[in-house]
């Protein structure tokens, strides 16, 4: 991945090194183009510079999103190169720097009118009263499965199409012919009448002087030659030979190493630390006390870690020191009894209908906290020298990280430079609001200045100081009418839930309510966010209703999707792929689940067996409707990975509280699925004309309920809490 220089940013819209830099913002996001009023009519159109064309005909696409394995550093350049008619072999990618001109701002607006699906991480920035986005220019987020459907669809395509038109216009002027007689293909403009041609690189300097068209001509799907083809990812070769650089690999000359122990109970402050025992150890530079943590700085990570482990810091007492998962569950259950429930969705008269129903069922479900457990533990390297602060790290929002660093350093954001690296996993852990490790690293670097400091969290620190997937208890009531169709759906659960708690099925009387529940555990977005819990709840309970009605669970769902043809097609496809109607191999059973999230609809069938009292998932079939697919192989990989990520929640992982703190420490007590646990996965995509949906997250939610439903089919036991465990009789 190339490096960005500040000089190039300042030169936005002009010439950089003799090449074309195309200013974009004003084109793609002009109000008349996407029909959304800007927050402020006086707001000048900000330029986003996403494309650079060098004299040697190399095309560089500057992507305002981080790469964490989702392939966005390939798929977004594909979308731009497609409309540009670029020679893919000469396309390079750079990640944009943390600068306001790369903020999601204008793209965020595009989500707002479609209130149905504002990415979760953006909701906190939306003032729902006015539909205005606040702090618009503070975000440069990669999350919400939004890069391709947002930045790509609304931005990259237009940037490519506009640049193509400018290059053709430049050629036409040079040759004194009509632009309409010229064509562009494979990074070259040609004029058939005269036989003349020129490369994009030869034309770029002239093209940069032209005004970008407001409505560039864009291709239709059937004209695509790059999009829709399985293009090898640009970042993969460096990931098989050790040359890919992550935040933890950064080498800043003269740096020292730090590791840290923060208060084990969230909310506690650092008390006393006796540093005398470690100060004299070889290589120890400093013991740094922060408000709620103590760090050791040394000439190597190992020495810092050894010294930290010999310190016995005290932390202040909190009101939560006796909290356990059991006491918290009681509090959460009690909260559900309160009258202070917020309506998520309601239709008909659920309570009255339930009262008069001949057949009614109820059930309680629960899911625990979960850690992200990215393979690369949290880390950041910081150098504070004079009036400047530099940070090397891997985050899902470098612009937000810059603000965190500036605040910790006591500097303006302009004095901070974020060098964002590839991420050894994100999954939501490195989103804004969860950049505590950057705050810590900057504060330690202030003490050590001008020496650069690399702060590395131990796995134990990482496991115990995450921003966890919320634990939720959910209670359901449902009824079946005389025809065997569900007539009532009532749910009440902790947290927010939002759209994730609604269902695609036609049930006439619904009452879905959330209950705010306070506790001291830090919460964050965990791949697929609320769908990770509510997909399990709703797809399990609809399965219970099917059995209560005496119906086959696939047909039961299908009958309820007459008004949702896309959902029904996805459900049918997954069932067909799995051979649903035919009996599974002896000793196995199948379960099915359907979840829409982040604009995509996914149905999964899981085939399970009990092996030595444990649930073994042999096969998973997944059908996906995400509109169309930009890079089919990457799309496939995202669904495969999502299923394994969901499998970790379904069968393996659980964060519990003991003495107010997280009990788990490492992968020995927070187990993960391994190769032996991985099912064979088959994925198929349905091409629809629907708007593009995301792919990073939608593979996750259906797997847990598909497995639970399969276990019910196999054993008759309904497992209602995650991770799923067969209890010995």
């Amino acid at each position: 991945m190339g490096k960005w220089t500040r000089r190039a940013v300042i030169a936005t819209g002009g010439l950089v090194g003799g090449g074309l830099v195309l200013g974009l913002g004003g084109i793609a996001f002009a109000p008349n183009r996407i029909g959304i009023r800007p927050e402020d009519e006086q707001d000048p159109a900000r330029l986003s510079t996403w494309l650079r064309i060098a004299p040697d005909n190399t095309i560089t696409v500057i992507v305002p999103h981080c790469e964490m394995g989702q392939g966005v550093h390939t798929s977004l350049p594909m979308m731009l190169a497609e409309e540009l008619d670029a020679d893919w072999q000469r396309v390079r990618v750079e990640e944009a720097p943390a600068e306001s001109i790369y903020a999601n701002g204008y793209l965020v607006r595009a989500f707002v009118p479609a209130v149905a699906d504002v990415p979760k991480f953006m909701e906190r920035f939306v003032d729902w009263g006015t539909y205005r986005i606040t702090r618009l220019m503070d975000l440069q987020v990669t999350g919400g499965s939004s890069s391709v459907r947002g930045t790509g669809f609304l931005g990259m395509r237009i940037a490519g199409g506009a640049a193509r038109a400018m290059l053709i216009e430049a050629a036409a002027k040079r040759w004194q012919v009509a632009a309409g007689e010229c064509d562009a293909k494979s990074s070259r403009v040609t004029h058939a009448g005269s036989g003349r041609s020129a490369t994009f690189g030869e034309l770029a300097a002239d093209a940069a002087l032209l005004a970008p068209p407001v409505h560039p001509q864009l291709k239709s799907y059937d004209q695509y030659t790059i999009v829709g083809k399985p293009i090898p990812r640009l970042d993969i070769p460096s990931k098989v030979d050790g040359s890919a650089t992550y935040g933890i690999d950064v080498d800043v000359p003269g740096m020292v190493y730090a590791t840290i122990a923060a208060a084990p109970v969230f909310g506690a402050q650092l008390g006393a630390v006796d540093a005398t025992s470690v100060s004299a150890l070889p290589g120890i530079r400093q013991v740094v006390k922060l408000d709620n943590a103590v760090a050791v700085v040394a000439d190597s990570y190992w020495r810092a870690l050894k010294a930290l482990r010999t310190l016995i810091p005290s932390f202040t007492a909190t009101a939560h020191d006796a909290q356990t998962s059991a006491t918290l569950a009681v509090a959460m259950g009690t909260a559900l009894e309160s009258n202070d429930a917020k309506k998520v969705f309601a239709s008909g008269d659920a309570v009255a209908t339930l009262g008069g129903a001949s057949k009614a069922i109820q059930a309680e479900y629960s899911v625990p906290f979960l850690a992200h457990a990215t393979m690369e533990p949290m880390n950041a390297t910081v150098r504070i020298a004079g009036d400047r602060c530099e940070v090397w790290t891997g985050v899902q929002d470098p612009l937000a990280a810059r603000k965190v660093a500036a605040s910790a350093a006591g500097m303006s954001a302009d004095a901070v430079i974020i060098h964002n690296q590839q991420l050894g996993g994100g999954f939501g852990r490195r989103l804004p609001g969860a950049h505590d490790f950057i705050d810590q690293a900057v504060r330690i670097a202030k003490v050590m200045a001008p020496a650069p400091v690399k702060l590395i969290w131990s796995r134990e620190e990482d496991m115990q100081h995450d921003y966890y997937r919320p634990a939720v208890i959910a209670r359901y009531k449902g009824a079946i009418d005389s025809s065997g169709a569900p007539s009532v759906w009532i749910s009440r659960f902790n947290g927010t839930g939002g759209d994730a708690a609604t269902l695609p099925y036609a049930v006439p009387n619904q009452d879905i309510r959330s209950v705010k529940t306070e506790h001291h555990v830090r919460l964050g977005s965990w791949r697929s966010v609320e769908h990770s819990q509510h997909g399990f709840f709703t797809e399990s309970f609809i399965d219970e209703l099917a059995h209560a009605a005496g119906k086959e669970p696939y047909q039961f769902r299908r009958d309820l999707l007459k008004q949702a043809p896309r959902h029904r097609a996805v459900l049918e496809k997954a069932a067909w792929m799995s051979g649903w109607g035919a009996a599974p191999p002896a000793g196995r059973a199948r379960g099915i689940a359907l979840v829409e999230s982040f604009g995509s609809i996914v149905a999964e069938v899981a085939e399970v067996e009990l092996v030595d009292g444990r649930i073994k998932v042999h096969n998973v079939w997944a059908a996906v409707d995400c509109g169309y697919v930009v890079n089919p192989d990457t799309a496939l990989a995202q669904i495969e990975g999502g299923i394994i990520f969901g499998l970790s929640a379904a069968l393996f992982s659980e964060i519990t509280l003991r003495d107010g703190r997280v009990a788990q420490r490492n992968f020995d007590d927070y187990p993960m699925p391994k190769l032996a646990d991985a099912p064979r996965i088959k994925v198929e995509f349905i091409r629809s004309d629907a708007p593009l949906g995301g792919l990073g997250e939608p593979g996750v939610p259906p797997i847990a309920p598909a497995i639970a439903n399969a276990v019910f089919a196999l054993t008759g036991k309904r497992l209602r809490s995650l991770p799923l465990r067969i209890e010995a009789e």
Binding site: G69, P232, I236, D241, G283, W302, F667, M672, A678, I681
Partner: protein
Amino acid sequence: MEVILNVNGESRSVDIDADTPLLWVLRESLGLTGTKFGCGIAACGACTVHVNGAAVRSCAIPAAAVQGQTITTIEALGSASQRHAVQEAWIAHQVPQCGYCQSGMVMAVAALLAKTSRPTDQEIDTEITNICRCGTYERVRRAIHAAALKLSSGDVEANHDGEPAEVRHG
């Protein structure tokens, strides 16, 4: 203490605490950052290197304990001109996502194939226990079989035993 290590064909002298894990010597003293830190307790395999050709989790073995032995890291598994067959298969099957665990995964697989030229799925399950949080396992398995087939294609013995790898998979 001074420790002399034979890493990637070179003799390297480092001054470290006697208990320093090999991982941190590779990463911090020798600048070989392709080998990753994941857990520190040999549970995830991100730190896997070869010691005398065998896969070893370098976070849980002192560097001083492997003096005089042949250590190979991901940086020297193949070369710029000739990647190892496992690396080739990893690219062909587009295995890595975030990629952080893949150095260790590739090293573990290369060591497995060096001793078992055509592993069965069951042998793979037993031997390859590295954690990949992105969930690339489906492709890992496919790429192992592809690399095994390629590595053993010149091996008459291997070609005679049983069905092709593609059939075994599934």
